[in-house]
Subunit: 217 residues, 4 copies
DNA sequence: TATGAATGAGAGTTCATTCAT
DNA sequence: GATGAATGAACTCTCATTCAT
């Protein structure tokens, strides 16, 4: 990954952003290896070799191996979960940007799909570790609760009030919408790869969310 | 896990089924630890201690640590993916069992949900490893292709011919249906735990699959 | 050191005493190296090499390097400080064994001198570490207070009551007596070595303690 | 420690004396850390941090870490051992300063006691290292032999000739005198600390040296 | 068949020292 | 002169695996 993208991805507000060249090499190598073999199965000596630095150099920048993992994964969590909802939802902006739920989920799906495509290795690392580290799951939950849930719910209720959406509980709509999007993403990035017709399946997923699979009577 | 369940779960056709007592202790301990901490982060000595056997005993039954992993995970793949479709689809059986797509997915969802509930640790191990071992993903794909895909497609086409299902491509319906089910399962077993109202969310997921979230006009 | 001596030296009451052959080799090597180069400057790989075992073997027997140090040093503290006072001081035994303060300190000096001669390396290790680890000093103090001080004081007061000893405070007599003995021991084992005429200097030290260096008028 | 004291302590005749500010910071930090944790257990980075300089700066002033140790310890040896005997023993000066052995040892004890109190950390470092580095012990022996032994012996013989001292061998008197003083110093600075009544114990030690503990008949 | 002591390769980490700036 | 990033050897400790009992 080039220096700029990496810094943008791993930048946390309030932290100093500048990375040294070696640090970038280390992070890129670590992301690649962790994504490929998993955190526990990747040795710091492998990372050092791939990065082309001495093993000691890793520990000059990151106190422990776990520290290196966190510095890769933590800043990403926010960025993957929140941005679709980061906009300032003033009424005008909102109604202009999202005239319908369809426009909203289409934008969200496209936006997150591209993000995942660009940063898939880091996300893979996050997901893997979230399996066994509660710490990781909690960060995800926290970000979701703080930045996403209320706004998402608000949007749904808005479109229920306009009559576009059925009167299902917002929670269920949130879960099923997200499930469908994540299901698409997993299918594309973990199971099928390039052989999938991306645009077609994205569109179908949107239609599925919107109309369901059952024929209208 | 008791001896019988374990043998059933890990039994592969054509193999000798009898397990010694020690072997069962080892497998149970390994499943628990692998699920909790991951394969790479679990040491054989931890397994031995938890199983109450000597370290050497593990290697008497399983040539390597990886061997132990495979003997846990491989037989499970088939069992988790296939059984809903394992029935003999003679016309009568089928029409009798599944008078509608709704009945079919309700049964499938309930059935898989219970299976996951019962064998969650083993499945967690499989998923974790599938992330980085193509070998694992391929086994999954193969089982899916061999035992599931054709039958699932056949069912969909059947209900499209009866007019119950819309004329979406079967692949899309398969993917979205499975996505929704897996989404529910992940939400329940990885994110929310017991705090979720299982029966309610199951029903809503089914409704979502069937009708979608969009109001019918 | 032979197996028997080592076990006797490092045995702690209430612990299991049997040492494996390898364990003995490790302890002997560790004592030798720690005494020669100090704890911090001795690497576990050196110890392993000198003991003729694999490095891993050390950690099978001792959880950490520090553990190895403690298992050498702790049991010795008691044995070096206490035994001269370990006898059961029933009145008869006492008056029979120590008809005078002179007999008492002569026995104590000889006894401790021989013990130091036999176990000098272990004691050297203890002293070194006591310099910077309060933990070590406290163990020493505790043993001294519990097993030595009262009895020593009692003896002194006894010989003050018989008129053999001057009416100095017991604490001062204790400190100066011990100082003189330790001074002799340090001179012999750290500064001069074999070139010192042991018996002569022991006798002179006893005379010094008893009569002082100043001429009687 | 202030600049002047430090320079005085570590000054060796014939060397250039000026220390830079940074050098002083480094030496003070090193003395403190070495005394607290021992030479081998103190890292140069700790010293640099405590001194508030960069790690590289240490190596600009001292070729190696050991060099730093030597530059602290070596000049001190002379100063701790010799000064009591450094005076020019012209007959007049001597008889005027030391009209009796008692006056002599009282002055020596007080003088060395104050020196140790002032420079305890450096001395602690020296003693620690003297345990395993013969080089250090030899320096001590050499200084003792060159600057102390003959003069001390001469003093003793003088007071034997005046009849103040008993006809013990001078070596024994030297050893026991020094032992008693060192014993007091160790008790004060390593074992008891401030809780000891300094003046009282100093006086008692002198009395012990002079009269011994045994009652005069 | 089961044991557990022993192994040695390799893990993560520290550290004295170097050197370009 | 001072810096501190970089180094790589060496450190303590872990681990899957072996094998004599």
């Amino acid at each position: 990954m080039d220096a700029k993208s990496l810094e943008e991805l791993l930048y946390i507000e309030g932290e100093q952003m500048k990375m040294s060249e070696k640090q970038r090499l280390i992070l890129n190598a670590a992301i690649e290896m962790f994504a490929e073999k998993g955190f526990a199965s990747t040795s710091t000596s492998e990372i050092a070799k791939k990065a082309g630095v001495a093993e000691g150099t890793i520990f000059r920048h990151y106190k422990t191996k776990k520290d290196l993992l966190l510095s890769i994964v933590m800043p990403t969590v926010t960025k993957v979960v929140a941005p679709a909802f980061a906009k300032n939802f003033s009424k005008e902006v909102f109604e202009q940007d999202y005239p319908s739920y369809e426009v909203f989920i289409r934008e969200m799906l496209n936006n997150r799909f591209e993000f995942v495509k660009k940063h898939f290795p880091v996300l893979k690392i996050f997901i893997q570790e979230a399996f066994y580290q509660e710490e990781f799951r909690n960060v995800y939950k926290q970000v979701f609760n703080e930045h996403v849930y209320d706004k998402f719910k608000h949007i749904i209720e808005h479109f229920q009030s306009t009559g576009e959406l059925r009167d299902l509980p917002a929670d269920t709509i949130i879960r099923t919408t997200i499930s469908s999007i994540i299901g698409l993403i997993i299918t594309r990035f973990l199971l099928m790869g390039e052989e999938m017709d991306e645009e077609l399946e994205k569109e179908r997923t949107i239609q599925f969310i919107l109309y369901g699979v059952k024929q209208k009577r």
